[in-house]
Symmetry: C2
Subunit: 224 residues, 2 copies
C-alpha cells in the first residue's frame, strides 16, 4: 500500500468523479474542477501516469487505470464515512459536512477508517445519499430514478441529489426536502414542467411543495 500526497489524492478523486459522466477527462475540465491552472494539471498527470494510476497520451485527455480506480474508491470511502460521522454524530448540517470531509479524507490510516466504519454501523449511504464503498472498494447502488420520471401518486423517498452546490442545498433545505424525505408527485405542469409534490415533513405532517424543472432534474428517488 503506497501513500499519496493530499494533492495527488485530490486529483485522483476529481478524475474519478468526472470520468463517470464524460469518457476521457480533459485538462481544462480538471483544472476548473480543482480551481487550478491547466499547466499544473499537465504536470500532475505526468506524475500520476508514471505511477501507473492513469492512462494519458498528450492532447488525448486521461482516464484512471484499474489501480487508479481502486485508489479513488478508497478516498471516496474515507470522504463519505467522515461525512456520515459529521452529520450523524456531530450534528453538522447537510451543507457543512463536505468541506471538513475534504480534509479528513486525507488521513490515511486503514485501521482508523475500518474502525470508524464499524463504529458508525457500516452505513451504506452518506448524508447526500451517495453510496459508501466497502473495505474492498465495492459500491452497491440502489435503483433510483429522477423525480421527473416518477409516476403520479406513487410513494417514494428522496435518496440522492446530483448537484451539491451551496445554492441547491440552500433551496432544498428551505423546501424541507432532504435525503430520506417521503414524497409523491401530485401534478406535473406542462407549461414549465414544474411539479407539485406532497411530502411528509420531519414532524410527520404532510405538506405541499412546488418545485421547478431545474430543481427536479437534480432530485433522485427510490420507491418505498
Amino acid at each position: 500500500m503506497v501513500n499519496y500526497s493530499t494533492s495527488e489524492e485530490n486529483h485522483i478523486k476529481a478524475i474519478f468523479h468526472l470520468q463517470t459522466h464524460s469518457g476521457n477527462v480533459s485538462t481544462n475540465e480538471l483544472a476548473r474542477e480543482l480551481r487550478t491552472k491547466p499547466a499544473s494539471v499537465t504536470d500532475m498527470m505526468k506524475k500520476l501516469r508514471d505511477k501507473k494510476l492513469l492512462h494519458y497520451q498528450p492532447y488525448q485527455g486521461f482516464r484512471l487505470s484499474t489501480e487508479g480506480k481502486k485508489v479513488a474508491l478508497g478516498i471516496v470511502r474515507r470522504h463519505r464515512l467522515w461525512e456520515y460521522f459529521l452529520a450523524e454524530k456531530l450534528k453538522f448540517s447537510w451543507e457543512e459536512v463536505h468541506a471538513v470531509a475534504e480534509e479528513l479524507e486525507h488521513v490515511s490510516s486503514r485501521k482508523l477508517i475500518d474502525k470508524l466504519d464499524e463504529y458508525l454501523g457500516f452505513p451504506r449511504f452518506d448524508p447526500h445519499g451517495d453510496p459508501i464503498p466497502d473495505t474492498e472498494g465495492r459500491i452497491r447502488y440502489n435503483p433510483q430514478i429522477c423525480i421527473t420520471a416518477l409516476e403520479l401518486n406513487l410513494p417514494a423517498q428522496i435518496c440522492h441529489v446530483s448537484d451539491q452546490s451551496k445554492e441547491l442545498l440552500e433551496l432544498l433545505e428551505h423546501k424541507q426536502l432532504r435525503i430520506g424525505t417521503k414524497v409523491e408527485v401530485k401534478k406535473k405542469f406542462d407549461f414549465d414542467q414544474s411539479l407539485e409534490l406532497r411530502i411528509k415533513t420531519a414532524t410527520k405532517q404532510t405538506a405541499s411543495v412546488m418545485i421547478s424543472v431545474q430543481l427536479a432534474q437534480n432530485i433522485f428517488v427510490k420507491h418505498v
Copy 2:
C-alpha cells in the same frame, strides 16, 4: 485566525512540550525530537520568529511567545480530543492512539473540534491522563503525586504517566496498570526501592503487583 502548515504546527507543539521541562529549547534538542536535521530547524525558527510565534536570537535557543503558546494549546487540544475519541469511541488501545492523532490534529476546523468536544462530553483528560485544554486554551491540572511519594495503604488512582514510549506502555499493559486503575502501595522495599501494590482490576478483583523504581518514577496518582 491564521492557519499554519502541518510542519509549522509540529514544530510549535514540540517546542511547547520541550520548554516546560528545560527553559529555552536548543536547536539540536528540537531536531532530535522531530527526527529532522539542525539546519532545517534553524530555517523553521527564522520563519516562526518572523511570524511572531517565538523569541529567537541566533545561538541562544528559542521559546514560544504568548501568541505561540496560544497556538500550541490549540494543537494540543485537538491532539488530545482525537486521542480520547479514538480510545473511547473507536476502541483503539492506549498505545495506538498517538500516531493517528498526530495526523488528525492538523485538521483545523474550529467548529469540528468544538462539536467533537461536545460529542465526547467535554472530557478533561486524554487516555494517557494528560489534561485537555478548553476552547480558550485553559488547562486545569489536578493535584497529582508520583506513586513513589504515596503513603502506604492510602487509596489512590493512576492519573498520568510521564513517559509514553512503546516499551513503557507495553509493561504497564502487562501489569494491568492503566489510567483510572485504583491502587494502594502496600510495601516499599529499601533494598531496590521497588514497590508492592494492590490494585483493583477491570473485573473488580484485587491483585498484587510488584513494580521497579524505574517504572514507579513514571507513574502519577491522585487521591480518591
